[in-house]
Amino acid sequence: MTRVRVTAPRQSAKPVPLRFPYGGEVPEDSDVGRVFVRSLIRSQLRLALVVACGFLLILAAFAMLLVFGPGVAETRILGIPLDWLLLGLGIYPVIGLSAWLYNRAAARNEARYRDLVEDK
């Protein structure tokens, strides 16, 4: 087997034209294609913002509870103070759940886009 030399990706040579990843269709060439792409981007952005804001609200609620919650530092479950449990353990499932829900919804948005393009 021969060794192949690495050459720089799109640096010294003229940039390779970006190949469109989806099949042979080039959506930005038609008005309809452009509308589809714009609506896909908008729905993905809306989804990401909704999940991010939801998560940040929950995070803020945790923080509020720690600062203002009555007796959070004194409450103990199995001998561990509640504030340690909330921040050291309780928040991680929230992160994982947000991520999982987002992945499903984002894949659904993309599937909807694919269906639209194929039906066209």
């Binding site: 087997m1 060794r3 192949v4 030399r5 690495v6 050459t7 720089a8 990706p9 799109r10 640096q11 010294s12 940039p15 970006l18 469109f20 990843p21 989806y22 099949g23 959506p27 930005e28 452009r34 792409v37 896909l40 981007i41 993905q44 952005l45 990401a48 999940v51 991010a52 998560f55 995070l59 923080a63 720690l66 600062v67 530092a73 103990r76 001998g79 561990i80 103070p81 504030d83 340690w84 921040l87 050291g88 353990l89 928040i91 991680y92 499932p93 992160i95 994982g96 947000s98 991520a99 999982w100 987002y102 992945n103 984002a106 894949a107 993309e110 886009y113 694919r114």
Partner: protein, 488 residues
């Protein structure tokens, strides 16, 4: 602690790393292999590798040390480190993979069609990388000093040597194997000793009465501003880290980039349970470490202190091995991505250039590490996140989601963020830790919005500079790839 224990552990990790690196060299054949592992790395491997690379000295030593010092306030650090990956998943993961960019400068150049933006981004990326390597080397210096009694410089120099050897020899493919191995090593090295310590403590009767004291170390509580600013830095800093982006290129498509990120979140969540546990145990049984300024060494000293005997020595060896895995993996991840940037911009992207660039990327921060000193690892890494969030994050987020971004806006935003945040870091360092006011010590809460505002304002002002390719690039970023197996 017996000095031999630390030395043996360090040698074992270095040799294993080098062996996996050379094993990778044998199968690293083609150009694609060398740079990006041909995108054939399966999601679990890739996720372990991302976790391995991400969990640095700050996570392995710093988090537990900070929890020992300041209790629940410090619990925000691991939460932020993990939630940063959530933000990365939501806003960056799939589009960035689809962009086909290998480095952040590649991305900004392709998106904004400007060589000037590329150069500015490269400078910022190299600054971030160097800033981030320094705390790793400080961690190595601390570990060597505490465990073997050798002078500090031995630790940092050894890490740089091992990293240079593996990166120069193997490239990316072997790095992926090394990183994935090191995630699991780090997890074991933290989890086993903590669990063992807990079992020993449960075996004795007295600790049943032991409870988490409210404030054994007498540290002042951090203000709400500091906590919020820290969260801004960690949430928005993660998605701009240069070594993170390189990893995403090894996923076959956008969908698998998301799946990989989800696995990473799981791996990080599991990992951070253990520094938290160590910190809590340390707060009960070893608060005196905080007074003697050895908080960051808590994880290293805990097994010897609470278990003792041969078992304690073995556990200590395991922890030291894990600590070096942390320094080695983060440093090599950063060196790989920095060499990618430096070699393409300076050496035209040949393999020889990549190797030269790797040396350059690793040796410069070693100089910084010799001339500076740090008090808290988690804190200094937190500042690097603040810098990333104020420079790279606005360009990435706006570049992916907003058609109106222009090259002038991107440059203005990066320069503003770098000057404000870098300035705050320099002034804060000069004034000394503890003396600087909160807004200088933790600048992200105002530097990040400022960088965003300048980027948007200048972009709107220079509307005519929006590149002609914007529609093409935007659809490339967001349109899903053709499914590999077509169902219909």
């Amino acid at each position: 602690m017996n000095p031999a224990v630390g030395l043996v552990a360090f040698l074992a990790v270095s040799i294993t790393t080098a062996v996996i690196g050379f094993y990778g060299l044998r199968i690293s054949r083609t150009t694609g292999d060398f740079y990006v592992a041909s995108r054939t790395v399966p999601p679990w491997w890739n996720a372990s590798a991302i976790g391995g690379e991400y969990l640095s000295a700050a996570s392995f030593l710093g988090v537990a040390g900070l929890i020992l010092l300041s209790g629940t306030d410090a619990l925000w650090f691991p939460v932020g480190y993990t939630a940063g990956y959530l933000m990365l998943l939501l806003f960056v993961a799939a589009p960035l993979r689809r962009s086909g960019a290998y480095t952040i400068p590649d991305f900004t150049e392709a998106r904004l069609d400007s060589r000037m933006v590329r150069r500015v981004t490269s400078l910022v990326v190299v600054a971030v990388g160097w800033l981030y390597i320094v705390p790793q080397l400080h961690g190595a210096a601390l570990t060597i000093r505490i465990t073997t009694g050798l002078p500090s410089w031995v630790g940092s120099t050894a890490v740089v040597l091992v990293v240079c050897v593996t990166v120069v020899a193997g490239g990316m493919r072997s790095i992926t194997f090394v990183q994935a191995f090191q995630y699991w090593l780090k997890l074991t090295a933290l989890a086993v000793p903590v669990i063992f310590v807990l079992l020993v403590l449960a075996g004795n009767d007295t600790p049943h009465q032991a409870q988490l004291p409210v404030n054994p170390t007498g540290q002042p509580a951090t203000s709400a501003y500091q906590n919020i600013s820290l969260m801004v830095a960690l949430l928005f800093g993660t998605l701009g880290l240069p070594h993170v982006l390189v990893r995403f290129y090894t996923n076959p498509d956008g969908q698998s980039a998301r799946r990989t990120t989800l696995i990473v979140l799981g791996l990080l969540s599991v990992f951070y349970l253990f520094p938290t546990l160590s910190g809590a145990v340390g707060r009960i049984f070893a608060p005196e470490l905080a007074q003697s300024g050895q908080a960051d060494a808590l994880v290293l000293l805990l097994p010897g202190k609470l278990v003792g005997g041969t078992a304690g020595e073995l556990l200590s060896a395991l922890v030291v091995a894990g600590a070096f895995a942390a320094f080695l993996s983060t440093t090599s991840g950063l060196v790989v991505s920095l060499s990618g940037v430096i070699s393409q911009d300076l050496f035209g992207g040949s393999v020889r250039g990549f190797r030269l660039a790797a040396l350059l990327a690793a040796v410069v921060p070693l100089g910084f590490a010799f001339t500076t000193d740090t008090l808290a690892l988690a804190g200094s890494v937190g500042l690097v996140f603040a810098f990333t969030a104020s420079t790279i994050c606005p360009v990435l987020l706006l570049g992916i989601w907003w058609r109106g971004l222009t090259d002038a806006g991107a440059i203005a935003g990066m320069v503003t963020g770098a000057l404000l945040c870098g300035g705050a870091m320099v002034i804060g360092t000069v004034m000394g830790q503890g003396n600087a006011p909160a807004w200088l010590a933790q600048p992200a809460a105002w530097t990040v919005p400022a960088a965003f505002a300048v980027t948007v304002a200048v972009s709107v002002w220079t509307k005519n500079r929006v590149p002609a390719s914007v529609n093409r690039v935007m659809s490339r970023l967001h349109v899903p790839e053709r499914p590999v197996a077509t169902e219909r």
